[in-house]
Symmetry: D2
Amino acid sequence: MAKQPLNIGIVGYGFMGRAHSNAYKQVAQFFDLARTPVLKAACARDAAKVKAFADTWGYESTETDWRRLLDRKDIDCIDICTPNNAHAEIALAAAQAGKMILCEKPLAMNGPEGLKMVQAVEKAKVPNMVWYNYRRVPACTLARQLIDEGRLGKIFHYRANFLQDWTISADLPQGGAGLWRLDVAAAGSGVTGDLLAHCIDTALWLNGGIKDVCAMTETFIKERKHTLTGKVEKVAIDDACAFLCHFKNGSLGLFESTRYARGHKALYTFEINGEKASIKWDLHDLHRLEYFDHKDESRIRGWHKLHVTDGDHPYMGKWWVPGLQIGYESSFVHQVADFIDGLTTGKPAQPDFRNAYETQLVLDAILDSAKGRQWQEVK
Amino acid sequence: MAKQPLNIGIVGYGFMGRAHSNAYKQVAQFFDLARTPVLKAACARDAAKVKAFADTWGYESTETDWRRLLDRKDIDCIDICTPNNAHAEIALAAAQAGKMILCEKPLAMNGPEGLKMVQAVEKAKVPNMVWYNYRRVPACTLARQLIDEGRLGKIFHYRANFLQDWTISADLPQGGAGLWRLDVAAAGSGVTGDLLAHCIDTALWLNGGIKDVCAMTETFIKERKHTLTGKVEKVAIDDACAFLCHFKNGSLGLFESTRYARGHKALYTFEINGEKASIKWDLHDLHRLEYFDHKDESRIRGWHKLHVTDGDHPYMGKWWVPGLQIGYESSFVHQVADFIDGLTTGKPAQPDFRNAYETQLVLDAILDSAKGRQWQEVK
Amino acid sequence: MAKQPLNIGIVGYGFMGRAHSNAYKQVAQFFDLARTPVLKAACARDAAKVKAFADTWGYESTETDWRRLLDRKDIDCIDICTPNNAHAEIALAAAQAGKMILCEKPLAMNGPEGLKMVQAVEKAKVPNMVWYNYRRVPACTLARQLIDEGRLGKIFHYRANFLQDWTISADLPQGGAGLWRLDVAAAGSGVTGDLLAHCIDTALWLNGGIKDVCAMTETFIKERKHTLTGKVEKVAIDDACAFLCHFKNGSLGLFESTRYARGHKALYTFEINGEKASIKWDLHDLHRLEYFDHKDESRIRGWHKLHVTDGDHPYMGKWWVPGLQIGYESSFVHQVADFIDGLTTGKPAQPDFRNAYETQLVLDAILDSAKGRQWQEVK
Amino acid sequence: MAKQPLNIGIVGYGFMGRAHSNAYKQVAQFFDLARTPVLKAACARDAAKVKAFADTWGYESTETDWRRLLDRKDIDCIDICTPNNAHAEIALAAAQAGKMILCEKPLAMNGPEGLKMVQAVEKAKVPNMVWYNYRRVPACTLARQLIDEGRLGKIFHYRANFLQDWTISADLPQGGAGLWRLDVAAAGSGVTGDLLAHCIDTALWLNGGIKDVCAMTETFIKERKHTLTGKVEKVAIDDACAFLCHFKNGSLGLFESTRYARGHKALYTFEINGEKASIKWDLHDLHRLEYFDHKDESRIRGWHKLHVTDGDHPYMGKWWVPGLQIGYESSFVHQVADFIDGLTTGKPAQPDFRNAYETQLVLDAILDSAKGRQWQEVK
């Protein structure tokens, strides 16, 4: 019996365009879902490049103007994989056109823009979701389960960082293909919107709301050649950002992100310390979760080094056999599976736009705090 | 421009049937190859089950008799994913039918059977390969590069083990679906052919031939209920096997495998100690390679903990960005890519049947040695 | 030829009294020094307890009033191991009496008090030092060597934390023997002066001065029974403290300390990210240093996991053989050795009082910042 | 009240002479014992060197002939720290003289010699012990506790290795001071008696007797200059030794030792897999014990990474505070403490000569097996 298709029109073909496409293609082999993603159309301004992308991934057609996707009846869902500054315009139009929307993170360039997007999808009543994929790394999902079961007790501390080292060279230009994350006009901010956004999404999901923040940012290399203009221009993004915060549950938070941490390629880590138990995770070994439980008998009390690959670990029963790990890309597969499940069960998978908007408000508070060198309430 | 298809007919739909199918589907999105795998037919005796498998993975048709696959002109390549005792019959017939053959490991039930298979494919001149997939985990491939570049110097020691714990319970039956690896009639041996075969393949590939072995085997649980007969029967496989050996290059080898190592799900590790450098690897963190180089300056000399995810690491430039790891299943993707490359370049990817037959001879020597409680030359 | 004695009079017999005494006794067996520590007198108010302590460690005599030590001609050096609130009075008097002074950390209850102590020892021209022992863990000393050699290049980031979990229980009282660290009258502050003081001392030593800080503190358990009064009283120390800072060299700092991090007994860690190399250390594995060097060839570039036990590692040539680690207590042995060397070479070992006073000023700024919820310049 | 002295006369001043002396000096400060070690005399043939050693460590007197020690009434206990080939002669005479004996490991050059030593001390009824110090590393003692409590259940596997890399250079001579371990006349064997002896002692202690063994040995560098003769001579020790074995409890053993494992300074590791739980240890992080317990709830089941520094861990309550580790040398302190306790309680601390003789028999079987290339029963 043929399943109902979920027809996808994707905008953008970069790193995320590839990761999402892979997810659409793999999901039906591993998850038993009511709807099967179908790669209907890929869209980007460069006709030749989008054609090559479509050929590689098996998209049935291409477009060079995303508005064309909205007109097409054969497309159910718009996947926005563009630089950040294009999210809002596309999402607002897509909502109005009645399309489901899957939007790359961060949701928007800032809170007010994000709010409009939330209002648009809620008004249009279209299913919507933001690609904060780390929630669906099995070890992270397990962390959430353990917290939900009350194993950690009252939380005292939350700390997270996301450390990279790829922009240390002063010779790296800003802007243009592959480097738009260094261009404030396209990205809105630097590591704050790129990396801390992930950390904050996870934190809000695992530990609840943030009350106030105090941040500092730094731009180590002040000027870089701009790929689009050819000139040396001021770098307006933040290269590094760290902040202190209070969570609403009374715990203290400490976050840091940088692209100047020599030796770390993509070291996203978090640790949560509760009265009864603690949890640690690290993207560089993403299938590992470390868990400390104070109720273990004293002499054998220590961090449990969990290899989250067992059949009763989240999502893992769908893959191989215990002990065999899956890759980064699988988190996107899981997100598609949950999104589709949400469509059929009526319980929308998270984070939807409204949920992702909370992260946006924290990002705004961080940037404001850093600018004003003062504590800032989160709205 | 449409690429030439590589039409696949697969026999078996178990764990390996899934892993191979995933590889055929993913490979063309990540590797630029002259031929594209096409899932033409899946074959198994149970018509309903093979139909469900074919639907999930997108096989165009099904068969319930593998001989039918050999008759089909639209099939280029037979992929043998059956229990070990069916490899030879299918492979011999497939070779005679002029099909390419991809055969699961171990190649055969024993050396003499393996030799017939080698002779068959060489006589028929059909491309052939055995799925010793660990050679193509990027960290393992990197290990080979480092050795080939002479970085380790004269080798003194090679040690490997493959530890699992899934058969400790006496309640586990033997034989039948999912449990044929416990049934000597289907598997030929226990951990020796299942797990040590992997260790030996890697060792021969990294460190050259083995001269002689001295082994011990053990069957901890002597009787188990047999799923197929319903009776409690003697367990004739080995639950554990360890052996000492001399490599032809003068180094000493130490190997161990068991399904009774509580706490290890699939801990395949190897370590090689050379005069100038050493290497360690561990399947539980498969993207890590540890490397010690004696020529590092003394005070900062220590094991380099490599996160094998950079663009210049083997295969990794095809996937995501530095720091993001891939899964177990990717090793099969790489194997398909290399097999297809081998077809076009005329340099067959390894291990082909002849190469895998070397492992078979070591397995025979191990089992003979254990039985006779004495050192045994490898033929 | 008998060496010149260095006659020690120690005040206090707690954890630090034991650690220092052990150092005095071990040092001459491992280091070839011009002067040999002699345990002349132990002093504490409780005559019986100090007698027992003296017997155990071999002190030749006891006193119950520290002023008596100052009168004794046979004592060269006063070692202050009391709670923090007694440091200044004893040190000021000892300086006036012309005694050398070894003072436990933190130097003082606050900056102004510390300044008086600095002025006193400088006026009296008596050798003086503060027991920030972690500088002399061999792995930390090696870190300093690597920085001094310019291997890290320009520094971007410094992060450190000191995590414990021993005060989570609300049943723990404050004040009195063994618990004076929870009593603000004796300790001055909580984790800030106890644990962060260590982190700051190391940071100033490795990365230079701190310009400004922004801190938050928290007291999770608001009231505890007081051992000395028998009443439930307000807890006035900080249970946790985190702060952001700018170093004078332009790098960003992030520090955290708490006694509520379930799962960590004494996890002091630091990490320094430079343009060319990075370093990590962790007290829970104190003989390990991790070192990442960007100039390593790309494919084998990874964190070097150094086992700092070789003969050319700092201090290690004095102990056993490579691979055999030493304990926490050895850092005190090294400090005594260096102090004595400083006496003979005329280059005083660090941190002396003036050096330790810098840490005091940072501590003051932290506490002010936390109180005022604002950035604070370090004086 | 003055405690009864335990007057020590030590023979030899090398690495072990220092480690034992340190233990005698530290033990009374940390352990409350009925007798206090007193360093009465140090003995070695070189008068100047033994004088320097005695001065450093505080021995009251020196001797240049060990027989003199036996005549002295003021000496209770002879500590034998000589090369292996002198153990027997000294021990036999010391027993006859009625002295307690502490003998370095391995007990003897071979089993028959060891047996004479056992008979001598048993006939003389003198307290005796062998310095297999690793039993008293707290993590190892904890391992024993966990086994004794039945936590592991039926044992399936025991594996251990001891890997070093200090003799790889062909320029290293054999024989003479510091290098007697390379000289078969002084050492009896190579890594077998030096390193495997430790592994076997631990194994017999943790897992019971060994039934039979099958070993291989190798001497990678065939000739080295001899320090004593000045000539290039055949190297007669084993550079590496590995063996398979069956324990009497039905478990399988796998052991390896070498001085040619580039990258390892003193990597002694063991792992025990039981039906219910498993244990791992590693000398390079000697305060760590890893423990896997199958009865942990499935989703949080993983290796517990124990930091064996808590007050209820073996010996640790005597040292510092939780989280602070002790050094290699402390294992000797513990051994002295237990030896003295054994004197007063009448339950002799282990391993005594008879217990250590069991290791000797396994060593003999290993060397016989390697020579004969066959399985060998342990006598």
